[in-house]
Symmetry: C2
Subunit: 399 residues, 2 copies
């Protein structure tokens, strides 16, 4: 199957992955060629997978590998309450917590695993301590392919067990995490293990389906803004590419503006954006409750900056108090996301206060993962209960 991987910085073209998944000249991430002649297939979604529905946007995947766990087709929920409160025409939440392993990662894991199997690799792997580890472990088991999950040596058992249950080979690694990210890809690629790390090109492709679904859910319209909690940069890159492809295919004439949201305690992209820099710098002493996006040196950081510049979007950071407030507000709309997921709503509130949005805007927040992923964060919220005797039940109900 012919593919074309293009350097996001210098434009160099490759016919296959390099063994770093990056450009050998400028060391920036590679990206699959834009698809410009695809249509959305009709069909009963109870009888098709998300990759079947959008298969024309994946001409480079051999879909005969059927390892779907039912990823995608997540709800887009309008909050009429928050729309009114914030004075914005439409505030929507794309709830990615309803994926098979309860995060958006599943959409990119399946495209990565299919690529690995198309290439005949003997195994797959990833480097992660959270959502991505569980996702790759689950799909590795479903595909019955050797799966290696590399985690930091100091990871707590509490986080490890919901990954271990899927039955992959779990390896704690002592050493620098950033180095591990790159080394695992190279060593893996040269030895038959395809590492589907955060910004691996075939993982990024999987996130395009979020864009296609939003487009369908808004009745074939494009929102004005999409806010995406951003760590390595893979998710926001994939969603933005999805909308660009919808435009290239003539299905819409507008790409939404993208807002990368980060935690103030680890904001390498937002900081570079604020300072007008073209390259990110390593963020020192990261510390935030939004652990899922606590990446001090995101591998796609520079590309996110380039993308935001072309797109007319921006990057913004929100502190832990703003994150916790937004997490609670979302839950009061029935959506319980992990703290990282709440950075999008927190950023929306902050930017609205700065008059960034107009009253007429349609704004979509990506809720990246379930609040059940990280329940310790709940200790930061007040727990209001009362205790009564069963004989006093009437008083409570009549009050």
């Amino acid at each position: 199957m012919d593919i074309k991987l293009i350097c996001t910085s210098c434009g160099e073209v490759y016919k296959e992955e390099t063994n770093t998944f990056r450009c050998t000249k400028c060391d920036e991430p590679l990206e699959l060629e834009l698809v410009s002649n695809a249509k959305i297939k009709a069909g009963n979604m109870l009888e098709q997978s998300v990759l079947e529905r959008y298969s024309e946007f994946y001409p480079f995947l051999n879909n005969k590998v059927d390892i779907s766990l039912g990823e995608g087709f997540t709800p887009l929920l309008e909050s009429r309450f928050l729309s009114k409160e914030l004075g914005i025409k439409g505030v929507y939440f794309k709830n990615e917590s309803q994926n098979p392993t309860w995060s958006f990662k599943d959409r990119g894991t399946i495209t990565g695993v299919i690529r690995a199997m198309n290439l005949g690799f003997k195994g797959i792997g990833t480097v992660s301590t959270g959502n991505m580890a569980a996702s790759v472990a689950a799909y590795g088991s479903k595909a019955k392919i050797d799966t290696i999950i590399l985690v930091k040596e100091e990871i707590a058992d509490e986080k490890l067990k919901p990954i271990a249950i899927y039955g992959s080979k779990l390896v704690k690694v002592i050493g620098d995490y950033g180095k591990l990210y790159l080394e695992s890809i190279r060593l893996g690629y040269d030895n038959g293990f395809y590492f589907i790390n955060s910004d691996s090109p075939f993982r990024v492709e999987g996130y395009k389906t979020i864009a296609y679904e939003i487009f369908e859910q808004l009745d074939y319209k494009t929102p004005d803004y999409v806010l995406v909690p951003t760590s390595a940069g893979g998710d926001i890159r994939g969603i933005e590419k999805g909308f660009r492809e919808l435009k290239a295919c003539g299905l819409t004439d507008k790409v939404p503006r993208f807002i990368a949201t980060q935690a103030t305690g680890c904001a390498p992209i937002a900081t570079a954006f604020k300072n007008g820099k073209e390259e990110i710098e390593r963020f020192n002493n990261p510390r935030t409750i939004a652990h899922a996006i606590e990446n001090p040196y995101p591998p796609s950081g520079n590309q996110v900056l380039r993308m935001l510049k072309n797109n007319g979007g921006m990057a913004v950071d929100v502190d832990d108090d703003e994150i916790l407030n937004a997490q609670k507000l979302m839950a009061e709309e029935g959506i319980f996301g992990q703290p990282a997921s709440a950075t999008s709503l927190a950023a929306l509130i902050k930017l609205k206060e700065e008059n960034y949005f107009s009253d007429e805007d349609i704004v979509v927040n990506i809720v990246t993962a379930s609040g059940l992923k990280f329940t310790s964060a709940l200790d930061q919220h007040a727990l209001n209960t009362i205790t009564i005797d069963i004989a006093s039940l009437a008083d409570i109900i009549k009050k």
Copy 2:
């Protein structure tokens, strides 16, 4: 809106709920009249809710109340691996962990809340310590209606916090849980609070959509067996009614046989079934890892026995070791369910060993909720990890 509620035991007909949701003559559960003239509406599932798609099966709900959180439309996953291992034609999992609050409860909560709002009740409530509490709290917040969640006084904060985050009124009640179940319905009904407890008739109705979806997902065919983890009895009653309605509507000529699965440590229905009894007895000293189905005196227990008799199905119990083994097996297919959810696969394995199934059977296991709901259960599984230095990464990958 006219409704007809029929006693599941004596057949007495009511035009509205009694204030116990049970028959005033024989104290058995009421059930909405069978729907026999409905069709499944076509439509793009990204643009319709599950209650919109199946609205003809809900003539008694005024659907203008739009409080959907994106419940339903969950995947039905075939495990070719387990089909082969077990020697059964088709082993399927209906993964209800991909609902908005990560359990099947959401399907019944929304129908219950809509009924409450249709009747003009000022509030809603429930009695639960787990999945149902989170679900009712979430929909109560979405609907912006007063919501009371009653829990046992001794509930751990760890379980309470993922309920509290949604912002309902949380009340710990000292006293007998079974009495609380009945008292809350009566006191609530008489004072403007509609309690959507486990086998409330309008909650049971919500579970019918599981049947409609399975039917569509199997290409408009009916499976031979459906295995349902069973506690109060609401879930299995709703799914069975859904299939009976598909038959009554002329959409299929077969209703699958139902198997109620329970934990050996709390098996009032399986015990009564085994002993050929027509009524359940309170199960003494319940104790199982499957807490979500640990109900010693299920309010719909007798009706489940009647239903199973008419249906030709059965009830079976599995012990904690069998449950943990099945939980692990499911995870190795990429599906991580809570222990209660694994009773269906555990029962399938046990019954297959007893030659209960034929090679040609299509069997569906209901996976009721996410494994993230109860991660302490993971302490019962071996955690296999190795620790290496980053310099040894090559050895791991090349091995």
